[in-house]
Amino acid sequence: MKAKVIVRLKDGVLDPQGQTIQRSLNKMGHEVTELRQGKYFEIEFNGMKDESAVRQRVEEIAADVLCNPIIETFEIEDIS
């Protein structure tokens, strides 16, 4: 099974990356009002077949490893 996870900065946490990209896009003439950058992960589990088990596993991995809970939150997009 394969899980897709998105990690994004919490609201209120400065996103210099996103802001810099946004500023450049604005300069190029794109009227973007906000841009925020996050991370995306695809995780494959060959052995596991049970969705809820995978979900539990992914939540654990995301909370412990993929995301820095002090400034980030995560979301499991899809498991299939």
Partner: protein, 229 residues
């Protein structure tokens, strides 16, 4: 020879490069501002190291859209010299003037240290002052210098002798242990098919004065100066 050193807002080797060209090597050298399009009649354009636009997205991703880059492209098309050092190399790749892309270093860390480079082709406008196979001591300082290219394009680079420098040990042996960032085929510097645009990750401007532990970088600048007029 007249050199132009481009300043992007986040360039940080612009003054270093200018210093070597002007004060150490006595060449006429001017700065070129990224928002301008006038290249001030320079013979050679140098895109220096740094973090052109912060490079939070990808190194060079934003810089390729700056006004000066259009002029640099034309300069290159006219067969004149363009050199990208470190971030400058990345920008030239993003702009399509040089092949390949830079991935994150294999070790996933920024690496700053002296490395050895073997001159793979000394019949270029950038290396004609080097001996065949000459080993140069020049520092690197980057996080994304892991040169990557498709197998087929790599074969073309090899065939056309576009590979200018490879990472080697002090004896000039190209061995995996001497590769600081995981670059494919240990590539440290390449040029375009026409041979007038070159990019290298190591910083020759940091190795052009005896006080700074190596003067080997001068061979590269001298090569460019040699061919002038």
């Amino acid at each position: 020879m007249k050199f132009g050193v481009v300043i992007f807002p986040g360039s940080n080797c612009d003054h270093d490069t200018h210093h070597v060209l002007k004060s150490v090597l006595g060449q006429e050298t001017v700065f070129l501002w990224h928002q301008d399009t006038d290249l001030q009649d320079v013979d050679t354009v140098i895109l220096p190291g740094g973090f052109a636009y912060g490079d939070y997205l990808r190194c060079g991703a934003i810089a390729k859209f700056s006004p000066i880059l259009e002029s640099v492209r034309r300069h290159a098309q006219d067969g004149k010299l363009v050199v990208g050092i470190c971030n400058g190399f990345q920008i030239l790749q993003e702009a399509g003037l040089l092949p390949g892309v830079m991935l994150r270093n294999a070790g996933l860390r920024f690496v700053c240290r002296h490395v050895w480079l073997r001159t793979e082709n000394n019949q270029t406008l950038f290396t004609n002052a080097c001996q065949e196979g000459q080993v140069l001591k020049i520092p690197i300082a980057h996080n994304e210098g892991n040169f990557f290219i498709s197998k087929q394009e790599l074969a073309e680079l090899q065939e056309n002798q576009q590979i200018v420098f490879r990472y080697s040990d002090a004896q000039g042996d190209v061995i995996p242990e001497a590769n600081p960032n995981g670059s494919i085929d240990s590539i440290a510097g390449v040029m375009n098919r026409q041979g007038n645009v070159m990019g290298m990750m190591p910083h020759p401007e940091r190795a052009s004065e005896a006080l700074l532990n190596s003067e080997d970088g001068r061979f590269i600048f001298k090569s460019m100066i040699n061919r002038v007029h």
